[in-house]
Amino acid sequence: MVEELFVSGHRACAGCGIATSFREVMKAVGKDVIVVNATGCSEIVSSPYPQSAWKVPYIHSLFENVPAVASGVSHALRSMGNDHTQVVCIAGDGATYDIGFGALSGMLERNDDVIYVCYDNEAYMNTGIQRSSATPWKAATTTSQVGSAVKGKPQGKKPILEIAAAHKIPYAASTSVGYPFDVAKKLKKAMGIKGARFILLFASCPTGWGLDTAKSIQATKLIVETGIWKMAEYENGKMTGVFKPGKRKPVEEYIKLQSRFKHLTPEDIAAIQKEVDASWTGLE
């Protein structure tokens, strides 16, 4: 039995996809690790003083500097002759796509020896569901509301995996918490590589998405089965693999589970379907 390194008693909402994803990530990386955590849901729910849900050395600093802190921890370890302890960054989409983006780019460009795990739940959830640049097109949040003129977020999602891969780092991959074996496989692979490694982990937020807590994991499977989310791998800037879900399900099956999309018209859904179909050109 693999030891749990992210333990019970954390304050994540019922059905939280990121809690499941941290259990999975920690089981894959094991005990010889230092976790560097950005501000966000992950930090708020897991480390209110004087408690910690992490059974490993853990440091939280700020929203914007987590890749730089991780770079420092990694360089300090290597300078001390420790060449085995993994430094794992855990940060949400807000810290990764937006606030810590500059520091992240620096860490990737220097190819610092860090595994960066971004759990993407597509908005700033811990501060009350504000849109981030990971929020998908048309999704309703408290700062991309549905009104008469504008309905949900007017912009699409930033392609952060491609941006990370464009730094020509040795390994960049995306996965989803609904596929725990894929999560474990990609983390194990990342651990065998030196340098900057970037894992983009899709994780559900029932509270922020208006999703039934019981269907939290189902949604993270459906986003892959519909082809909206690709579980891809990039090595040294080139795509080396993508999970093919077979006959893709209609995107509506994923969309209709969540109240953040309830205002979408049939035309909106058709537009999303068309975009998803186009994104698979040459990959199937």
């Binding site: 333990v7 008693g9 304050r11 499941t20 004087p50 019981a214």
Partner: protein, 81 residues
């Protein structure tokens, strides 16, 4: 000087079971011990993978993921008394 540092794994002091309005009810005879519920439980409170799940109600928040994901549908969510 005493540093204000949290000790690893101390969140277990925080019992989250009282958040629950529904609770999983497991039909043990139907369970195939596949480990799906244990793998997906956000609280990690369903016991060891490969065994019949034993729910630790000190932590179960009653989300219902286990019931939804169970491939043989041997878990039902019933109202907490």
């Amino acid at each position: 000087m005493k540093l204000p540092i949290s000790k690893p794994g101390t969140s277990v002091e925080n019992k989250t079971g009282d958040w629950r309005t529904f609770k999983p009810d497991i039909e043990v005879a139907k369970c195939i011990k596949c480990g799906t519920c244990q793998r997906f439980c956000p609280e990690g409170c369903m016991g060891d993978e490969g065994k019949v799940p034993i729910v630790n109600f000190d932590y179960c928040k009653g989300c219902g993921i286990c019931a939804n994901e169970c491939p043989v549908k041997c878990i039902k969510m019933i109202p907490e008394k």
